[in-house]
């Protein structure tokens, strides 16, 4: 077998390890899948009435893309904590003394996280449809939007893996959790930035989540995407690559224990 087939085979083994562990704790799994659906119900049921006053059609159409963004952010925090916990397992030291494709340990986490996050996103859209979400972009638009969501998930997951490796303990990963869970609020995810004040508005218009959310919303609702699409893809690819190389470098460091 060549180096490439070893890399693929080892990564597949680590993905199996990840799934097997996840299936062993169905409670945790269901919890992390259901959380974004709860968020959706919360936003639509609680804030929807008040926020829906704006003359932008149904609030649910506006907010579903935002919830999907939260879904990705939430998935990333679960990943950061999972990687952080996994690194304290003795088996990681064993992996390091074996002639395996090293990054496969991380690839296992990334693939597991992507499957979990996208399943959760599908659940969110499913429940939203039941609640009256009518994406004007049609099935094609929704699928394209899922492509963007998947790319964002890839980017945030690799960053989450790096953070999980960097943090000395679960508490250390908290800053990241704060960032990925608060940034969507400071974007166009839940309310349009033009309703925000001065500096917050400038930040909301220029932070990476806004072009992503605008693209997802545009594709789903069939409104023009404009330059957001390209900017969103550029941010995602940039973060994914940065996250990958950062995580790889961190994993190559000498372990502390």
């Amino acid at each position: 077998m060549s180096t490439l087939t070893y890399a693929v085979s080892d990564s597949a083994t680590m993905v199996r390890r990840n799934f097997r562990q996840a299936l062993r704790y169905p409670g945790t799994m269901i919890m992390s899948l259901a959380m974004p659906v709860l968020l959706l119900l919360l936003f639509v049921g609680v804030f929807g009435g008040a926020l829906g006053m704006s003359a932008r059609g149904d609030y649910i159409d506006y907010v579903v893309p935002g919830i999907l963004l939260m879904t990705v952010g939430y998935g990333a925090t679960v990943t950061a904590l999972a990687v952080n916990r996994d690194m304290t397992e003795g088996i990681i030291a064993r992996f390091r003394t074996m002639a395996i494709f090293r990054v496969s340990v991380l690839v296992g986490h990334v693939v597991g996280a992507l499957v979990r996050t996208l399943t959760s996103a599908v659940l969110v859209v499913g429940v939203a449809l039941l609640l009256g979400f009518r994406p004007a972009g049609g099935p094609g638009g929704v699928i394209a939007a899922f492509g963007v969501i998947a790319l964002l998930a890839l980017a945030l997951t690799w960053l989450a893996v790096a953070i999980g490796l960097l943090a000395k303990n679960a508490e250390g990963a908290n800053l990241f959790i704060l960032v990925v869970q608060v940034l969507p609020f400071l974007s166009s995810a839940f309310v349009p930035p033009d309703s925000m004040s001065g500096a917050v508005r400038w930040f909301a218009e220029n932070e990476p989540f806004t072009p992503v959310i605008d693209t997802v919303r545009g594709l789903m609702l069939g409104t023009p995407v404009g330059s957001s699409g390209l900017i969103a893809v550029a941010w995602c690819v940039g973060f994914a690559l940065a996250g990958y190389f950062w995580a790889r470098a961190l994993f190559r460091r000498d372990p502390v224990r």
């Binding site: 070893y6 083994t13 062993r24 003795g90 088996i91 003394t97 074996m98 002639a99």
Partner: protein, 349 residues
């Protein structure tokens, strides 16, 4: 004499001391020290963590197919040495070759040839015992059938068949240790590193571990182990290196180490006080214990001096009940070499 020997044997074994049975104490050990291609070579190995020097330039060489014990108290640098030799962490200086591969240029070559069981169990708690073993087989790129076969074989060998389908997080300490070693043995490693393999094990599990180590070596594997148990190094290793504060203070066979220091003696036990008196007169410089009816005669424990001693007793027609040879144990060696004891234990002798 045969019955006396048996008594001496069992008595001395409980005391954990070396017994003279007429054969050379070296028997069975020199075989393993015959020079052959070294499996592990380290030259000038150095490692510091910040200002703290953990390894201060150690040199060692382990012959293929032997057991090498790195002996030292907690904090001596044993684990750091194993972590470097097994490619887990980098060294600050020095050259290392393991199984013919250079650590600096071919760490993956080393990884493909070694197995490591560290001090902290390197098992996946969220998987079952069997899944852990199959995970190893998959990473070693054995086929599915071969992986399952090896897993089943090891589960049997390590007495884990009943626990095969249970999560490792429910395992006892001994079971985890056994699974850990079983995982190390899924591949056909030529050099196996065991960092304190019996620390925390009950006596029975400890003997099981010793048996497994002996079987490995019988199969041609080189075992590099660390231990803080002096009797363990004595029991298993062909060569011992004593590590203290990052420096090797001595290397040699267990018996070489023990002969290097004074304190060895032969203890003679007599049936009555008359025998004791006669022997004391015949032998001169002795320590006598009238209540226990024993004499302690200084001796290096070597065959020649034993024969001389027995000849003198024979010439004086003195009947000896029991005889045991007390070569200094490795605790004495450690004290003599480093000037401080390994532990705070009281010396009875």
């Amino acid at each position: 004499m045969n019955r006396a020997e048996t008594v001496v044997n069992s008595l001395a074994r409980t005391l954990g001391e070396v017994v003279a049975t007429g054969a050379t104490p070296d028997e069975g050990r020199d075989v393993t020290t015959t020079p052959s291609r070294p499996a592990v070579v380290a030259t000038g190995l150095r490692k510091s963590f910040g200002d703290h020097v953990v390894l201060d330039g150690i040199d060692l060489s382990v012959a293929e197919g032997t057991v090498f014990a790195l002996l030292g108290p907690n904090g001596a640098g044993k684990t750091t040495a194993v972590r470097i030799l097994s490619t887990l962490i980098g060294a600050d200086g020095g050259d290392v070759q393991v199984a013919g591969h250079d650590l600096a240029t071919d760490a993956d070559g080393i990884r493909a040839a070694i197995g490591v069981t560290g001090q902290f169990s390197a098992v996946d708690n969220l998987l079952t015992g069997q899944e852990n073993l199959i995970l190893m087989a998959d990473l070693l790129h054995f086929g599915r059938a071969e992986g399952r076969r090896r897993a089943a074989e090891l589960l049997g060998k390590f007495d884990l068949v009943d626990a095969a389908g249970k999560l490792v997080s429910t395992y006892s300490g001994g079971m985890r240790r056994r699974l850990d070693l079983a995982m190390t043995l899924v591949g056909d490693a030529r050099v196996i590193f065991l960092d304190e393999p019996t620390t925390g094990l009950d006596p029975r599990s400890r003997h099981t571990m010793w048996r497994i180590i002996r079987e490995l070596v019988a199969g041609g594997v080189t075992v590099f182990l660390t231990t803080q148990y002096l009797d363990e190094a004595d029991e298993l290793a062909g060569r011992i290196a004593v590590l203290d504060h990052g420096t090797l203070v001595a290397q040699g066979t267990p018996d070489e180490l023990k002969r290097r220091i004074p304190g060895g003696h032969v203890r003679l036990h007599f049936a009555d006080i008359a025998g004791l008196d006669a022997a004391a007169r015949a032998l001169g410089e002795v320590t006598r214990d009238d209540t226990a009816l024993t004499l302690q005669v200084p001796s290096d424990g070597g065959v020649r001096s034993l024969r001389a001693l027995l000849d003198r007793l024979e010439d004086a027609s003195i009947e000896v009940g029991e005889l045991s040879v007390h070569t200094p144990d490795l605790d004495d060696v450690f004290f003599a070499l480093t000037g401080h004891p390994t532990t705070e234990k009281e010396t009875v002798r």
